[in-house]
């Protein structure tokens, strides 16, 4: 068990470092000279040279990489060109908002998936089953930015119930969270429904029924516990998709999270910021995936036995 945990942690570290190195090299090789981007357009050659020395790009690439990795480990990703502030500070303001939006969306989507998926599995010919199929098909087809735009049109422009964008408390979370939920719900709904259908066929459920146990208790306690395992895997796989959706929703709703920041950075060709955002976000993913993997081992003893 301990060796498994250690191995997974080590793997995660290697993945983060690999991503950091790749991002660094790709940006340095293809993005051009940061000094030229940073310096005023008609700067004198000696001014540009000064910028080069400041960024340390007059030194060999390998040395730059080591310096970069060294300071990244200490949480220093350099100065943003656009905001004239440390990249780390900017990220630390934006990241919690993104994680909040992602967390709320995930929670909302999981609750709907569990309730609706169970009902659909239980009564395959009912309105619930139909609704779950329709919601899955629609969620899979509608891009986040479109459902986001329609939500804004209906609830912010039309009914004036909720703010159309920005971040001013809990109300600002509702519309973006619904848009993101719509996009991540389909997979979870399908997976839970299928696994619930399979679990309901199992002997132990039939036994419980034969013993006359309370129907709701059988389904929502005994069956759901096992039906949720595949759901956990899906969450791990979908983390990337979830954050992708969150980034798009942030742009649509002008929600001041990491996605908005990344797009501003992209348009301003703010390399240090892009670099920092990519690496920090990637690291967030890897950590979430690691946690889910460890949680999975904790929840499902069969895996623990298999791996030790």
């Amino acid at each position: 068990m301990r060796s498994f945990v250690l191995r997974r942690i080590l793997q995660s570290v290697i993945i983060v470092v690999a991503i950091a190195v790749t991002v660094f090299i790709v940006l340095r090789l293809s993005a051009g000279d940061p000094a030229r981007i940073r310096a005023p357009v008609f700067a004198r050659p000696d001014v540009i040279e000064q910028y080069r020395r400041d960024f340390g790009i007059d030194r060999p690439l390998f040395e730059q990489l080591l310096t970069f990795l060294g300071s990244a480990v200490r949480g220093d990703f350099g100065q943003s060109f656009r905001f004239q502030a440390p990249v780390t500070d900017l990220i630390m303001v934006a990241l919690p908002k993104t994680l909040l939006l992602a967390g709320v969306s995930l929670l909302l989507s999981l609750s709907i998936a569990v309730v609706l998926g169970s009902l659909a599995a239980l009564k395959p010919r009912s309105g619930w089953a139909w609704m779950s199929s329709a919601l899955a098909a629609f969620g899979q087809s509608a891009p986040v930015f479109w459902s986001g735009a329609v939500l804004v049109l209906v609830f912010a422009v039309g009914l004036r119930w909720l703010p159309s964008g920005g971040f001013s408390g809990f109300a600002s979370l509702i519309l973006p969270a619904i848009a993101v939920t719509l996009s991540i719900l389909p997979t979870q709904l399908r997976v839970l429904r299928t696994s619930m259908e399979a679990v309901l066929q199992q002997e132990y459920i039939k036994t419980a029924k034969a013993f006359g146990l309370n129907q709701n208790r059988i389904i929502f306690v005994y069956a759901l516990k096992n039906a949720c395992l595949p759901l956990l895997t899906v969450i791990g796989v979908d983390v990337g998709y979830l954050l992708g959706g969150v980034i798009v929703a942030e742009v649509v709703f002008a929600f001041p999270g990491i996605g908005e920041l990344a797009l501003v950075a992209l348009n301003a060709r703010d390399y240090p910021l892009i670099q920092g955002i990519t690496i920090v976000t990637a690291a967030t993913f890897v950590i979430v995936n690691l946690l889910i993997d460890l949680l999975y081992v904790k929840v499902d003893p069969r895996i623990r036995l298999e791996r030790t």
């Binding site: 087809s141 329609v150 990337g240 742009v251 992209l266 990519t278 993913f285």
Partner: protein
């Protein structure tokens, strides 16, 4: 699968009618009809369009949908209905290319993940994991900050973003198949690993590959639209569904049709593909369970 039914030795001379032998189901038919209509209207855009997709008319700026302009007009008076029709050509073509690219590469990687040399397999496993965990939008931002966005770059991004999904499915099926007796028998008989992979196992992947193709195509339609909407995909003035919505983004509070209607085209297209995918999956499952009964 229908072939195996058709060549079954017990098949009566006059079997059931063709449409029954195809084992169609409602979602499959509904999806196929919807997709056909959408494809035809994109192909026939020059015949159906009421105006050129780039004809600017500054006397008719941001007009609401009417008899003259069915979907209204945009900020420079271009007819939105015509732009959506022509945009369909671009979006469908780009999504199709992305789907084929990601499916081919994903299948290759998936098969390698199941049949590759011992040192290759774990590398592919990890690569799939990383790729699935990494948010594609961020990947797109990182790459387009280095390379100028264009349509070929967009297709490349699609392949990069979607190959892992296909690879995971193909790998899982191939691994499952690999453990079966007939593969072991072939192995014992000295059939090479490549031959087993290509001639024995690959055909069993094909039904799932068809489902994947429909689902990936739906995902690619959404992906193209999303990246073009973020300004990282098809570049103006070429109309694409995401690009058209980007044009309308700033007028969302005053001109709802500029974002809502092009989005409807995206939703209908990917909905038709999701229905086809669901239908194909149900069909494969039904045929499999029937085979199991025999």
């Amino acid at each position: 699968m229908s072939i195996s039914v058709a060549t079954h030795p017990d098949r009566p001379r006059s079997g059931p009618p063709l449409w029954r032998r195809l084992h169609l189901n409602p979602p499959l038919v509904a999806g196929a009809v919807l997709l056909t209509v959408l494809l035809l209207s994109a192909i026939a855009a020059p015949l159906l369009a009421t105006a050129g997709p780039m004809d600017i008319d500054l006397r008719a700026v941001r007009q609401a949908p009417s008899a003259a302009h069915w979907f209204g007009t945009d900020a420079v008076g271009r007819d939105l209905f015509s732009r959506v029709l022509y945009g369909g050509q671009v979006s469908l073509l780009v999504a199709g290319l992305g789907m084929m690219g990601s499916l081919s590469f994903g299948t290759l990687m998936g098969m390698l993940g199941a049949f590759g040399a011992n040192w290759v397999r774990p590398i592919i496993d990890r690569a799939i994991d990383i790729q699935l965990a990494f948010p594609y939008v961020l990947l797109a931002i990182a790459i387009t900050s280095a390379v100028k966005p264009s349509t070929p770059v967009l297709v490349l991004l699609m392949v990069l973003a979607a190959w892992a999904g296909a690879a995971r499915v193909v790998r899982a099926i191939a691994l499952q198949e690999r453990g079966k007796d007939y593969v072991k028998a072939a192995d014992v008989l000295g059939v090479s690993r490549l031959r087993i992979a290509l001639l024995h196992v690959f055909p069993t992947v094909l039904p799932s590959l068809m489902v994947l193709a429909a689902m990936q195509m739906a995902a690619m339609i959404v992906f193209e639209a999303t990246l073009s909407f973020l300004g990282m995909g098809v570049q103006p003035p070429t109309p694409s569904w995401g690009g058209i919505m980007l044009d309308g983004k700033n007028y969302i509070t005053s001109s709802w049709w500029l974002t809502a209607l092009p989005g409807l085209a995206i939703v209908l297209t990917s909905l038709s593909l999701v229905l086809i995918g669901d239908g194909l999956q149900a069909r494969t499952d039904a045929l499999r369970s029937r085979e199991g009964d025999q």
